[in-house]
Symmetry: C2
Subunit: 317 residues, 2 copies
Protein backbone atom coordinates (compact mmCIF):
# COMPACT_ATOMS: atom_id res chain seq x y z
CA UNK A 1 0.00 0.00 0.00
CA UNK A 2 1.31 3.42 -1.02
CA UNK A 3 -0.16 5.98 1.38
CA UNK A 4 -0.55 9.38 -0.30
CA UNK A 5 0.66 8.17 -3.69
CA UNK A 6 0.55 11.56 -5.47
CA UNK A 7 1.58 10.95 -9.09
CA UNK A 8 1.89 7.22 -8.33
CA UNK A 9 5.62 7.06 -8.82
CA UNK A 10 6.41 5.03 -5.69
CA UNK A 11 3.68 2.55 -6.58
CA UNK A 12 5.22 2.10 -10.02
CA UNK A 13 8.65 1.52 -8.44
CA UNK A 14 7.05 -1.19 -6.30
CA UNK A 15 5.43 -2.83 -9.31
CA UNK A 16 8.70 -2.66 -11.23
CA UNK A 17 10.54 -4.59 -8.51
CA UNK A 18 7.93 -7.30 -8.35
CA UNK A 19 5.00 -6.35 -6.13
CA UNK A 20 2.07 -8.60 -6.95
CA UNK A 21 -0.53 -5.98 -6.08
CA UNK A 22 -0.30 -2.34 -5.03
CA UNK A 23 -3.05 -0.23 -3.49
CA UNK A 24 -2.19 3.39 -4.25
CA UNK A 25 -4.18 5.64 -1.93
CA UNK A 26 -4.56 9.33 -2.73
CA UNK A 27 -7.11 11.70 -1.16
CA UNK A 28 -6.67 14.61 -3.58
CA UNK A 29 -7.56 14.94 -7.25
CA UNK A 30 -4.01 13.87 -8.03
CA UNK A 31 -5.49 10.35 -7.89
CA UNK A 32 -6.90 10.89 -11.39
CA UNK A 33 -3.44 11.76 -12.68
CA UNK A 34 -1.99 8.75 -10.88
CA UNK A 35 -4.46 6.47 -12.68
CA UNK A 36 -3.29 7.86 -16.03
CA UNK A 37 0.38 7.51 -15.20
CA UNK A 38 -0.12 3.95 -14.01
CA UNK A 39 -1.81 3.20 -17.32
CA UNK A 40 0.93 5.01 -19.29
CA UNK A 41 3.43 2.60 -17.67
CA UNK A 42 1.15 -0.39 -18.21
CA UNK A 43 0.78 -1.37 -14.56
CA UNK A 44 -2.98 -1.09 -14.33
CA UNK A 45 -3.20 -4.83 -13.62
CA UNK A 46 -1.00 -4.52 -10.57
CA UNK A 47 -1.66 -1.03 -9.21
CA UNK A 48 -5.13 -0.10 -8.04
CA UNK A 49 -5.43 3.65 -7.45
CA UNK A 50 -8.01 4.48 -4.78
CA UNK A 51 -9.21 8.07 -4.71
CA UNK A 52 -9.97 8.42 -1.00
CA UNK A 53 -8.55 9.25 2.41
CA UNK A 54 -6.88 6.14 3.74
CA UNK A 55 -9.07 6.32 6.86
CA UNK A 56 -12.14 5.77 4.65
CA UNK A 57 -10.75 2.97 2.50
CA UNK A 58 -12.34 -0.48 2.60
CA UNK A 59 -10.50 -3.34 0.91
CA UNK A 60 -12.42 -6.37 -0.26
CA UNK A 61 -12.19 -9.54 1.87
CA UNK A 62 -10.66 -7.46 4.68
CA UNK A 63 -7.39 -7.67 2.82
CA UNK A 64 -4.09 -6.85 4.53
CA UNK A 65 -0.80 -5.88 2.92
CA UNK A 66 2.76 -7.07 3.53
CA UNK A 67 4.35 -3.66 3.02
CA UNK A 68 3.37 -0.04 3.45
CA UNK A 69 5.38 2.61 1.60
CA UNK A 70 4.84 6.31 2.01
CA UNK A 71 6.63 9.54 1.35
CA UNK A 72 4.96 11.48 4.18
CA UNK A 73 7.79 13.68 5.41
CA UNK A 74 7.39 17.46 5.49
CA UNK A 75 9.74 20.27 6.44
CA UNK A 76 11.42 19.48 9.80
CA UNK A 77 9.74 16.08 9.29
CA UNK A 78 6.33 16.91 10.72
CA UNK A 79 5.13 20.02 8.84
CA UNK A 80 1.89 19.31 6.99
CA UNK A 81 2.92 15.71 7.26
CA UNK A 82 0.85 12.66 6.66
CA UNK A 83 2.34 10.64 9.47
CA UNK A 84 -0.99 10.24 11.27
CA UNK A 85 -2.49 8.72 8.12
CA UNK A 86 0.43 6.32 7.74
CA UNK A 87 0.03 5.06 11.31
CA UNK A 88 -3.71 4.69 10.75
CA UNK A 89 -3.07 2.75 7.55
CA UNK A 90 -0.73 0.49 9.50
CA UNK A 91 -3.41 -0.23 12.10
CA UNK A 92 -6.05 -0.88 9.46
CA UNK A 93 -4.18 -2.69 6.70
CA UNK A 94 -0.72 -3.97 7.66
CA UNK A 95 -0.24 -7.66 8.40
CA UNK A 96 1.18 -8.51 11.79
CA UNK A 97 4.56 -9.28 10.33
CA UNK A 98 4.33 -6.48 7.81
CA UNK A 99 7.04 -3.91 7.07
CA UNK A 100 6.86 -0.11 6.73
CA UNK A 101 9.07 2.04 4.45
CA UNK A 102 10.51 4.12 6.11
CA UNK A 103 10.52 2.35 9.45
CA UNK A 104 11.87 4.97 11.84
CA UNK A 105 12.62 8.67 11.78
CA UNK A 106 14.52 11.10 13.98
CA UNK A 107 14.65 14.87 14.32
CA UNK A 108 17.92 16.65 15.14
CA UNK A 109 18.57 20.20 16.31
CA UNK A 110 21.76 22.23 16.48
CA UNK A 111 22.69 25.87 17.02
CA UNK A 112 23.91 27.54 13.84
CA UNK A 113 24.89 30.64 11.92
CA UNK A 114 22.67 31.90 9.10
CA UNK A 115 24.89 33.82 6.68
CA UNK A 116 22.10 34.29 4.14
CA UNK A 117 20.42 36.59 6.65
CA UNK A 118 23.51 38.15 8.18
CA UNK A 119 27.04 38.09 6.73
CA UNK A 120 26.00 37.97 3.08
CA UNK A 121 24.61 41.47 3.42
CA UNK A 122 27.68 43.09 4.90
CA UNK A 123 29.36 43.63 1.56
CA UNK A 124 27.23 43.47 -1.56
CA UNK A 125 29.62 44.47 -4.34
CA UNK A 126 31.09 47.10 -2.05
CA UNK A 127 27.79 48.27 -0.54
CA UNK A 128 26.90 47.65 3.11
CA UNK A 129 23.29 46.43 3.40
CA UNK A 130 22.98 45.25 6.99
CA UNK A 131 19.87 47.41 7.45
CA UNK A 132 18.20 45.34 4.77
CA UNK A 133 19.31 42.11 6.43
CA UNK A 134 17.79 43.27 9.72
CA UNK A 135 14.44 43.97 8.05
CA UNK A 136 14.59 40.55 6.38
CA UNK A 137 15.14 38.82 9.71
CA UNK A 138 12.36 40.74 11.38
CA UNK A 139 9.97 39.55 8.70
CA UNK A 140 10.86 35.98 9.69
CA UNK A 141 10.00 36.07 13.36
CA UNK A 142 6.83 34.03 13.03
CA UNK A 143 7.91 31.43 10.47
CA UNK A 144 10.97 29.25 10.24
CA UNK A 145 13.41 29.80 7.42
CA UNK A 146 13.78 26.92 4.97
CA UNK A 147 17.34 27.14 3.70
CA UNK A 148 20.39 25.10 2.79
CA UNK A 149 23.07 25.09 5.49
CA UNK A 150 26.67 23.92 5.08
CA UNK A 151 28.42 21.97 7.85
CA UNK A 152 30.52 25.03 8.72
CA UNK A 153 27.33 26.90 9.63
CA UNK A 154 26.66 24.58 12.58
CA UNK A 155 28.19 25.93 15.77
CA UNK A 156 27.50 22.95 17.98
CA UNK A 157 27.02 19.20 17.70
CA UNK A 158 23.43 18.29 17.03
CA UNK A 159 21.22 16.61 19.61
CA UNK A 160 18.42 14.16 18.87
CA UNK A 161 15.09 15.77 19.58
CA UNK A 162 12.91 12.72 19.11
CA UNK A 163 12.81 9.26 17.64
CA UNK A 164 9.69 7.97 15.91
CA UNK A 165 9.08 4.28 15.33
CA UNK A 166 6.43 3.77 12.69
CA UNK A 167 6.02 0.14 13.69
CA UNK A 168 4.68 0.87 17.18
CA UNK A 169 3.97 4.58 17.75
CA UNK A 170 0.40 5.77 18.23
CA UNK A 171 -0.97 8.99 16.84
CA UNK A 172 -1.14 10.37 20.38
CA UNK A 173 2.60 9.74 20.78
CA UNK A 174 3.11 12.45 18.18
CA UNK A 175 1.25 15.25 19.96
CA UNK A 176 4.33 16.95 21.28
CA UNK A 177 8.09 16.69 21.38
CA UNK A 178 10.61 18.57 23.44
CA UNK A 179 14.34 18.71 23.98
CA UNK A 180 16.37 20.79 26.36
CA UNK A 181 20.10 20.80 25.84
CA UNK A 182 23.41 22.47 26.55
CA UNK A 183 26.20 22.21 24.01
CA UNK A 184 29.67 23.75 23.86
CA UNK A 185 30.18 25.94 20.78
CA UNK A 186 32.44 24.05 18.36
CA UNK A 187 34.03 27.26 17.10
CA UNK A 188 34.24 30.94 17.88
CA UNK A 189 31.44 32.36 15.81
CA UNK A 190 27.96 33.75 15.57
CA UNK A 191 24.92 32.01 17.06
CA UNK A 192 22.06 33.17 14.88
CA UNK A 193 19.58 30.34 14.77
CA UNK A 194 18.51 26.86 15.74
CA UNK A 195 18.59 24.46 12.81
CA UNK A 196 16.36 21.41 12.55
CA UNK A 197 16.62 18.44 10.21
CA UNK A 198 15.56 14.80 10.10
CA UNK A 199 16.62 11.39 8.93
CA UNK A 200 14.60 8.32 8.04
CA UNK A 201 15.74 4.71 8.25
CA UNK A 202 14.48 2.02 5.92
CA UNK A 203 13.97 -1.60 6.95
CA UNK A 204 17.00 -3.79 6.55
CA UNK A 205 15.27 -6.84 5.17
CA UNK A 206 18.25 -9.03 4.48
CA UNK A 207 20.09 -9.02 7.79
CA UNK A 208 22.80 -11.34 6.51
CA UNK A 209 23.72 -9.09 3.64
CA UNK A 210 26.70 -6.78 3.91
CA UNK A 211 24.83 -3.89 2.37
CA UNK A 212 24.64 -0.82 4.51
CA UNK A 213 21.11 0.06 5.60
CA UNK A 214 19.46 2.76 3.53
CA UNK A 215 19.09 6.07 5.35
CA UNK A 216 17.56 9.29 4.05
CA UNK A 217 19.60 11.95 5.82
CA UNK A 218 18.66 15.61 5.36
CA UNK A 219 21.48 16.99 7.51
CA UNK A 220 23.87 19.71 6.28
CA UNK A 221 26.52 16.97 6.01
CA UNK A 222 24.77 15.49 2.97
CA UNK A 223 23.83 16.79 -0.44
CA UNK A 224 20.83 19.08 -0.12
CA UNK A 225 17.35 17.76 -0.75
CA UNK A 226 14.20 19.74 -1.43
CA UNK A 227 13.59 19.62 2.34
CA UNK A 228 16.81 21.62 2.89
CA UNK A 229 17.02 22.42 6.62
CA UNK A 230 14.59 24.35 8.81
CA UNK A 231 16.04 27.23 10.80
CA UNK A 232 14.40 29.21 13.57
CA UNK A 233 15.98 32.64 13.35
CA UNK A 234 16.96 34.18 16.69
CA UNK A 235 15.78 37.77 17.17
CA UNK A 236 19.35 38.77 17.99
CA UNK A 237 22.62 37.15 17.16
CA UNK A 238 25.05 36.18 19.88
CA UNK A 239 28.80 36.06 19.59
CA UNK A 240 30.15 32.83 21.12
CA UNK A 241 33.64 31.64 21.99
CA UNK A 242 34.73 28.11 21.26
CA UNK A 243 33.60 25.93 24.16
CA UNK A 244 31.10 28.46 25.45
CA UNK A 245 27.89 26.73 26.59
CA UNK A 246 24.78 27.30 24.48
CA UNK A 247 21.56 26.32 26.30
CA UNK A 248 18.20 26.07 24.62
CA UNK A 249 14.88 24.27 24.62
CA UNK A 250 12.90 23.35 21.51
CA UNK A 251 9.22 22.41 21.69
CA UNK A 252 7.11 21.04 18.86
CA UNK A 253 3.44 20.93 19.75
CA UNK A 254 0.60 19.76 17.57
CA UNK A 255 -1.75 22.61 16.74
CA UNK A 256 -5.13 22.18 18.45
CA UNK A 257 -7.16 23.43 15.54
CA UNK A 258 -5.24 22.08 12.60
CA UNK A 259 -3.76 18.77 13.66
CA UNK A 260 -1.38 18.45 10.72
CA UNK A 261 0.40 21.60 11.83
CA UNK A 262 2.89 21.99 14.61
CA UNK A 263 3.94 25.04 16.57
CA UNK A 264 7.69 25.36 16.97
CA UNK A 265 9.05 27.20 19.96
CA UNK A 266 12.63 27.91 20.88
CA UNK A 267 13.53 29.06 24.39
CA UNK A 268 16.97 30.54 24.99
CA UNK A 269 18.19 29.47 28.42
CA UNK A 270 20.89 30.65 30.77
CA UNK A 271 23.55 27.91 30.75
CA UNK A 272 24.38 28.73 34.34
CA UNK A 273 20.87 28.00 35.51
CA UNK A 274 20.10 24.70 33.82
CA UNK A 275 21.49 21.23 34.13
CA UNK A 276 24.17 20.23 31.70
CA UNK A 277 24.25 16.78 30.09
CA UNK A 278 26.67 14.11 31.24
CA UNK A 279 29.15 14.45 29.65
CA UNK A 280 28.89 18.01 28.37
CA UNK A 281 30.93 19.52 25.56
CA UNK A 282 31.13 23.02 27.03
CA UNK A 283 34.14 24.60 28.67
CA UNK A 284 32.78 25.26 32.15
CA UNK A 285 35.19 23.86 34.67
CA UNK A 286 32.66 21.49 36.23
CA UNK A 287 31.82 20.03 32.81
CA UNK A 288 35.46 19.56 31.86
CA UNK A 289 36.08 17.77 35.16
CA UNK A 290 33.04 15.53 34.73
CA UNK A 291 34.01 14.66 31.18
CA UNK A 292 37.52 13.76 32.28
CA UNK A 293 36.19 11.68 35.16
CA UNK A 294 33.82 9.78 32.89
CA UNK A 295 36.61 9.05 30.43
CA UNK A 296 38.70 7.63 33.27
CA UNK A 297 35.83 5.56 34.69
CA UNK A 298 34.05 4.05 31.72
CA UNK A 299 32.71 1.13 33.76
CA UNK A 300 30.64 3.42 35.93
CA UNK A 301 29.07 5.03 32.88
CA UNK A 302 28.07 1.69 31.51
CA UNK A 303 26.50 0.49 34.71
CA UNK A 304 24.44 3.64 34.96
CA UNK A 305 25.95 4.18 38.40
CA UNK A 306 26.98 7.66 37.55
CA UNK A 307 25.14 10.53 39.10
CA UNK A 308 26.43 14.03 39.52
CA UNK A 309 26.49 13.55 43.32
CA UNK A 310 28.80 10.62 42.87
CA UNK A 311 31.03 12.57 40.57
CA UNK A 312 31.13 15.50 42.94
CA UNK A 313 31.99 13.29 45.88
CA UNK A 314 34.66 11.47 43.87
CA UNK A 315 36.13 14.77 42.85
CA UNK A 316 36.09 15.92 46.45
CA UNK A 317 38.09 12.89 47.45
Amino acid sequence: MDVGCGTGILSIFCAQVGAGKVYAIEASNMAKLAMKIVKENNYQNIIEVIHNKVEDVILSDDKKVDIIVSEWMGFYLLHEGMLDSVLTARDMFLKEDGVIFPETAAIFVAPCSVPSLYEQWENVHGVSMTTFAKLLRESKHSKPEITILQPQHLIGTEVTMCWIDLRWDKVSDLDSFSVQHVVGANKTGLYQGISIWFSCNFPHLDKDSNEAPVILDTSPFNLPTHWKQTVIILPKEQHVEEGEPIAFKVDMTRDEVSSRRYTLQVSLLDPHEVEHPLPCSCHLTKCILIKTFMQQHPEKEENMELTSEEINSDLDE
Copy 2:
Protein backbone atom coordinates in the same frame (compact mmCIF):
# COMPACT_ATOMS: atom_id res chain seq x y z
CA MET B 1 19.01 60.45 -11.13
CA ASP B 2 18.26 56.81 -10.25
CA VAL B 3 14.72 56.08 -11.39
CA GLY B 4 13.10 53.40 -9.20
CA CYS B 5 16.08 53.10 -6.87
CA GLY B 6 14.70 50.27 -4.71
CA THR B 7 17.29 49.56 -2.00
CA GLY B 8 19.43 52.40 -3.36
CA ILE B 9 22.27 50.19 -4.50
CA LEU B 10 22.71 51.79 -7.95
CA SER B 11 22.73 55.25 -6.37
CA ILE B 12 25.49 54.14 -4.01
CA PHE B 13 27.50 52.75 -6.95
CA CYS B 14 27.15 56.18 -8.61
CA ALA B 15 28.29 58.00 -5.49
CA GLN B 16 31.22 55.57 -5.11
CA VAL B 17 32.48 56.38 -8.61
CA GLY B 18 32.28 60.10 -8.09
CA ALA B 19 28.79 61.47 -8.69
CA GLY B 20 28.51 64.88 -7.07
CA LYS B 21 24.79 64.55 -6.36
CA VAL B 22 22.32 61.71 -6.85
CA TYR B 23 18.53 61.96 -6.78
CA ALA B 24 17.26 58.48 -5.89
CA ILE B 25 13.58 58.27 -6.79
CA GLU B 26 11.43 55.48 -5.36
CA ALA B 27 7.61 55.42 -5.35
CA SER B 28 7.15 52.51 -2.92
CA ASN B 29 7.90 52.24 0.80
CA MET B 30 11.28 50.81 -0.17
CA ALA B 31 12.34 54.48 -0.20
CA LYS B 32 12.52 54.39 3.61
CA LEU B 33 14.87 51.42 3.45
CA ALA B 34 16.94 53.18 0.78
CA MET B 35 17.39 56.19 3.07
CA LYS B 36 18.74 53.89 5.81
CA ILE B 37 21.10 52.07 3.48
CA VAL B 38 22.41 55.35 2.07
CA LYS B 39 23.10 56.45 5.64
CA GLU B 40 24.70 53.08 6.53
CA ASN B 41 27.17 53.70 3.68
CA ASN B 42 27.66 57.34 4.65
CA TYR B 43 26.47 58.88 1.38
CA GLN B 44 23.64 60.97 2.80
CA ASN B 45 25.44 64.12 1.68
CA ILE B 46 25.48 63.01 -1.92
CA ILE B 47 22.36 60.88 -2.35
CA GLU B 48 18.94 62.42 -1.80
CA VAL B 49 16.23 59.74 -1.65
CA ILE B 50 12.89 61.06 -2.82
CA HIS B 51 9.85 58.98 -1.85
CA ASN B 52 7.58 59.71 -4.78
CA LYS B 53 6.61 58.73 -8.31
CA VAL B 54 9.07 60.35 -10.66
CA GLU B 55 6.18 62.00 -12.51
CA ASP B 56 5.35 63.95 -9.34
CA VAL B 57 8.89 64.99 -8.42
CA ILE B 58 9.84 68.66 -8.36
CA LEU B 59 13.52 69.55 -8.05
CA SER B 60 14.54 72.92 -6.68
CA ASP B 61 15.71 75.57 -9.17
CA ASP B 62 14.29 73.45 -11.98
CA LYS B 63 17.43 71.34 -11.72
CA LYS B 64 18.46 68.97 -14.51
CA VAL B 65 20.78 65.96 -14.30
CA ASP B 66 23.67 64.85 -16.51
CA ILE B 67 22.89 61.15 -16.21
CA ILE B 68 19.86 58.96 -15.64
CA VAL B 69 20.41 55.40 -14.43
CA SER B 70 17.65 52.89 -13.99
CA GLU B 71 17.17 49.17 -13.69
CA TRP B 72 13.70 49.11 -15.21
CA MET B 73 13.77 45.85 -17.16
CA GLY B 74 11.19 43.15 -16.49
CA PHE B 75 10.68 39.67 -17.88
CA TYR B 76 10.88 39.78 -21.71
CA LEU B 77 12.01 43.38 -21.07
CA LEU B 78 8.59 44.99 -20.80
CA HIS B 79 6.69 42.98 -18.15
CA GLU B 80 5.68 45.22 -15.24
CA GLY B 81 8.45 47.45 -16.44
CA MET B 82 9.15 51.00 -15.53
CA LEU B 83 10.19 52.11 -18.97
CA ASP B 84 7.43 54.72 -19.24
CA SER B 85 8.65 56.32 -16.03
CA VAL B 86 12.24 56.40 -17.28
CA LEU B 87 11.22 58.17 -20.51
CA THR B 88 9.16 60.63 -18.50
CA ALA B 89 12.10 61.27 -16.18
CA ARG B 90 14.24 61.92 -19.27
CA ASP B 91 11.75 64.49 -20.57
CA MET B 92 11.47 66.20 -17.20
CA PHE B 93 15.00 66.07 -15.79
CA LEU B 94 17.70 65.15 -18.28
CA LYS B 95 19.95 67.85 -19.69
CA GLU B 96 20.01 68.21 -23.46
CA ASP B 97 23.38 66.53 -23.70
CA GLY B 98 22.59 64.08 -20.92
CA VAL B 99 23.17 60.33 -20.99
CA ILE B 100 20.91 57.40 -20.04
CA PHE B 101 22.06 54.05 -18.60
CA PRO B 102 21.09 51.79 -20.38
CA GLU B 103 20.75 53.68 -23.63
CA THR B 104 19.08 51.16 -25.94
CA ALA B 105 17.38 47.81 -25.65
CA ALA B 106 16.27 45.10 -28.04
CA ILE B 107 13.94 42.12 -27.83
CA PHE B 108 14.73 38.88 -29.68
CA VAL B 109 12.54 35.86 -30.44
CA ALA B 110 13.41 32.39 -31.63
CA PRO B 111 11.62 29.04 -31.96
CA CYS B 112 12.79 26.55 -29.35
CA SER B 113 12.38 23.24 -27.58
CA VAL B 114 11.31 23.17 -23.93
CA PRO B 115 12.66 19.97 -22.40
CA SER B 116 11.55 20.91 -18.88
CA LEU B 117 7.96 20.51 -20.08
CA TYR B 118 8.46 17.66 -22.51
CA GLU B 119 11.51 15.36 -22.69
CA GLN B 120 12.41 15.51 -19.00
CA TRP B 121 9.19 13.67 -18.22
CA GLU B 122 9.69 10.76 -20.58
CA ASN B 123 11.89 8.84 -18.20
CA VAL B 124 11.85 9.79 -14.54
CA HIS B 125 14.04 7.12 -12.91
CA GLY B 126 12.50 4.54 -15.18
CA VAL B 127 8.92 5.84 -14.97
CA SER B 128 7.17 7.41 -17.96
CA MET B 129 5.32 10.59 -16.90
CA THR B 130 4.33 12.25 -20.16
CA THR B 131 0.73 12.50 -18.96
CA PHE B 132 1.97 14.73 -16.15
CA ALA B 133 3.98 16.83 -18.59
CA LYS B 134 0.87 17.33 -20.71
CA LEU B 135 -1.13 18.55 -17.72
CA LEU B 136 1.73 20.89 -16.79
CA ARG B 137 1.76 22.40 -20.26
CA GLU B 138 -1.99 22.82 -20.29
CA SER B 139 -1.79 24.80 -17.07
CA LYS B 140 0.57 27.21 -18.84
CA HIS B 141 -1.61 28.20 -21.78
CA SER B 142 -2.37 31.66 -20.46
CA LYS B 143 1.00 32.67 -19.04
CA PRO B 144 4.50 32.46 -20.46
CA GLU B 145 7.01 30.14 -18.87
CA ILE B 146 10.03 31.81 -17.27
CA THR B 147 12.83 29.30 -17.59
CA ILE B 148 16.52 28.91 -18.38
CA LEU B 149 17.21 27.71 -21.91
CA GLN B 150 20.51 26.41 -23.23
CA PRO B 151 21.70 27.29 -26.76
CA GLN B 152 20.92 23.75 -27.94
CA HIS B 153 17.25 24.33 -27.13
CA LEU B 154 16.96 27.00 -29.82
CA ILE B 155 15.83 25.50 -33.12
CA GLY B 156 16.23 28.58 -35.27
CA THR B 157 18.27 31.76 -35.40
CA GLU B 158 16.68 34.55 -33.42
CA VAL B 159 15.11 37.59 -35.06
CA THR B 160 15.00 41.08 -33.59
CA MET B 161 11.49 41.95 -32.59
CA CYS B 162 12.06 45.57 -31.71
CA TRP B 163 14.68 48.11 -30.89
CA ILE B 164 14.08 50.74 -28.22
CA ASP B 165 16.14 53.90 -28.01
CA LEU B 166 15.77 55.52 -24.60
CA ARG B 167 17.26 58.76 -25.90
CA TRP B 168 14.42 59.50 -28.34
CA ASP B 169 11.48 57.13 -27.99
CA LYS B 170 8.15 58.44 -26.75
CA VAL B 171 5.85 56.53 -24.43
CA SER B 172 3.41 56.08 -27.32
CA ASP B 173 6.17 54.37 -29.34
CA LEU B 174 5.96 51.54 -26.79
CA ASP B 175 2.26 50.77 -27.19
CA SER B 176 2.78 47.75 -29.40
CA PHE B 177 5.45 45.70 -31.12
CA SER B 178 5.13 43.03 -33.72
CA VAL B 179 7.33 40.74 -35.74
CA GLN B 180 6.44 38.24 -38.42
CA HIS B 181 9.19 35.89 -39.52
CA VAL B 182 10.13 32.70 -41.28
CA VAL B 183 13.25 30.85 -40.22
CA GLY B 184 14.73 27.54 -41.31
CA ALA B 185 15.05 25.04 -38.44
CA ASN B 186 18.74 24.83 -37.52
CA LYS B 187 18.43 21.14 -36.59
CA THR B 188 16.04 18.26 -36.78
CA GLY B 189 14.15 18.52 -33.53
CA LEU B 190 11.06 19.49 -31.65
CA TYR B 191 9.42 22.91 -31.99
CA GLN B 192 7.70 23.39 -28.64
CA GLY B 193 7.77 27.09 -27.94
CA ILE B 194 8.74 30.61 -28.90
CA SER B 195 11.46 32.00 -26.68
CA ILE B 196 11.92 35.69 -25.97
CA TRP B 197 14.86 37.52 -24.43
CA PHE B 198 16.39 40.98 -24.45
CA SER B 199 19.65 42.84 -24.37
CA CYS B 200 20.53 46.34 -23.19
CA ASN B 201 23.37 48.50 -24.39
CA PHE B 202 25.13 51.01 -22.20
CA PRO B 203 26.53 54.31 -23.45
CA HIS B 204 30.07 54.13 -24.69
CA LEU B 205 31.32 57.36 -23.21
CA ASP B 206 34.97 57.17 -24.17
CA LYS B 207 34.81 56.56 -27.90
CA ASP B 208 38.59 56.57 -28.24
CA SER B 209 39.06 53.82 -25.70
CA ASN B 210 39.57 50.25 -26.87
CA GLU B 211 37.20 48.89 -24.28
CA ALA B 212 34.31 46.90 -25.64
CA PRO B 213 30.93 48.51 -25.01
CA VAL B 214 29.05 47.08 -22.05
CA ILE B 215 26.05 44.98 -23.02
CA LEU B 216 23.62 43.20 -20.72
CA ASP B 217 22.64 40.15 -22.75
CA THR B 218 19.98 37.78 -21.38
CA SER B 219 20.17 35.32 -24.29
CA PRO B 220 20.65 31.55 -23.78
CA PHE B 221 24.22 32.07 -25.06
CA ASN B 222 25.22 33.83 -21.84
CA LEU B 223 25.22 32.87 -18.20
CA PRO B 224 21.67 32.92 -16.86
CA THR B 225 20.38 35.97 -15.05
CA HIS B 226 17.35 36.22 -12.80
CA TRP B 227 15.42 37.24 -15.96
CA LYS B 228 16.15 33.84 -17.47
CA GLN B 229 14.24 33.62 -20.78
CA THR B 230 10.51 33.91 -21.43
CA VAL B 231 8.93 31.07 -23.40
CA ILE B 232 5.45 30.93 -24.87
CA ILE B 233 4.54 27.26 -24.82
CA LEU B 234 2.88 25.96 -27.98
CA PRO B 235 -0.29 23.94 -27.36
CA LYS B 236 1.17 21.11 -29.45
CA GLU B 237 4.73 20.29 -30.32
CA GLN B 238 5.80 19.99 -33.94
CA HIS B 239 8.54 17.78 -35.26
CA VAL B 240 10.75 19.72 -37.68
CA GLU B 241 13.48 18.68 -40.11
CA GLU B 242 16.66 20.68 -40.45
CA GLY B 243 15.97 23.51 -42.90
CA GLU B 244 12.20 23.20 -42.61
CA PRO B 245 10.58 26.67 -42.55
CA ILE B 246 9.03 27.79 -39.26
CA ALA B 247 6.67 30.76 -39.71
CA PHE B 248 5.25 32.75 -36.81
CA LYS B 249 4.08 36.17 -35.72
CA VAL B 250 4.61 37.61 -32.22
CA ASP B 251 2.62 40.59 -30.99
CA MET B 252 3.20 42.52 -27.78
CA THR B 253 0.40 44.96 -27.05
CA ARG B 254 0.10 47.25 -24.08
CA ASP B 255 -2.88 46.31 -21.93
CA GLU B 256 -5.60 48.97 -22.10
CA VAL B 257 -6.53 48.77 -18.46
CA SER B 258 -3.17 48.22 -16.81
CA SER B 259 -0.60 50.06 -18.90
CA ARG B 260 2.44 48.44 -17.31
CA ARG B 261 1.27 45.07 -18.60
CA TYR B 262 1.56 43.68 -22.08
CA THR B 263 -0.40 40.97 -23.81
CA LEU B 264 1.79 38.50 -25.69
CA GLN B 265 0.33 36.70 -28.65
CA VAL B 266 1.95 34.11 -30.87
CA SER B 267 0.38 33.18 -34.20
CA LEU B 268 1.56 30.05 -35.96
CA LEU B 269 1.59 30.65 -39.69
CA ASP B 270 1.71 28.45 -42.75
CA PRO B 271 5.17 28.97 -44.26
CA HIS B 272 3.73 28.36 -47.70
CA GLU B 273 1.27 31.23 -47.39
CA VAL B 274 3.47 34.04 -46.06
CA GLU B 275 6.37 35.97 -47.47
CA HIS B 276 9.81 34.76 -46.55
CA PRO B 277 12.63 37.20 -45.68
CA LEU B 278 15.40 37.99 -48.12
CA PRO B 279 17.54 36.01 -47.71
CA CYS B 280 15.76 33.18 -45.90
CA SER B 281 17.42 30.34 -44.01
CA CYS B 282 14.84 27.69 -44.87
CA HIS B 283 15.23 24.88 -47.38
CA LEU B 284 12.43 25.71 -49.81
CA THR B 285 13.84 25.75 -53.32
CA LYS B 286 12.89 29.36 -54.00
CA CYS B 287 14.67 30.48 -50.82
CA ILE B 288 17.81 28.52 -51.59
CA LEU B 289 17.91 30.05 -55.06
CA ILE B 290 17.37 33.56 -53.75
CA LYS B 291 20.05 33.13 -51.11
CA THR B 292 22.52 31.89 -53.72
CA PHE B 293 21.64 34.75 -56.06
CA MET B 294 22.14 37.31 -53.30
CA GLN B 295 25.50 35.85 -52.40
CA GLN B 296 26.56 36.15 -56.05
CA HIS B 297 25.27 39.72 -56.40
CA PRO B 298 26.26 41.50 -53.20
CA GLU B 299 26.22 44.92 -54.90
CA LYS B 300 22.52 44.69 -55.58
CA GLU B 301 21.79 43.87 -51.97
CA GLU B 302 23.68 46.92 -50.80
CA ASN B 303 21.97 49.28 -53.15
CA MET B 304 18.59 48.04 -52.01
CA GLU B 305 17.83 47.26 -55.65
CA LEU B 306 16.77 43.82 -54.79
CA THR B 307 13.13 42.93 -54.98
CA SER B 308 11.70 39.49 -55.39
CA GLU B 309 10.41 40.42 -58.86
CA GLU B 310 13.94 41.25 -59.91
CA ILE B 311 15.23 38.02 -58.50
CA ASN B 312 12.54 36.03 -60.22
CA SER B 313 13.21 37.73 -63.54
CA ASP B 314 16.95 37.22 -63.18
CA LEU B 315 16.40 33.60 -62.39
CA ASP B 316 14.17 33.28 -65.44
CA GLU B 317 16.93 34.64 -67.64
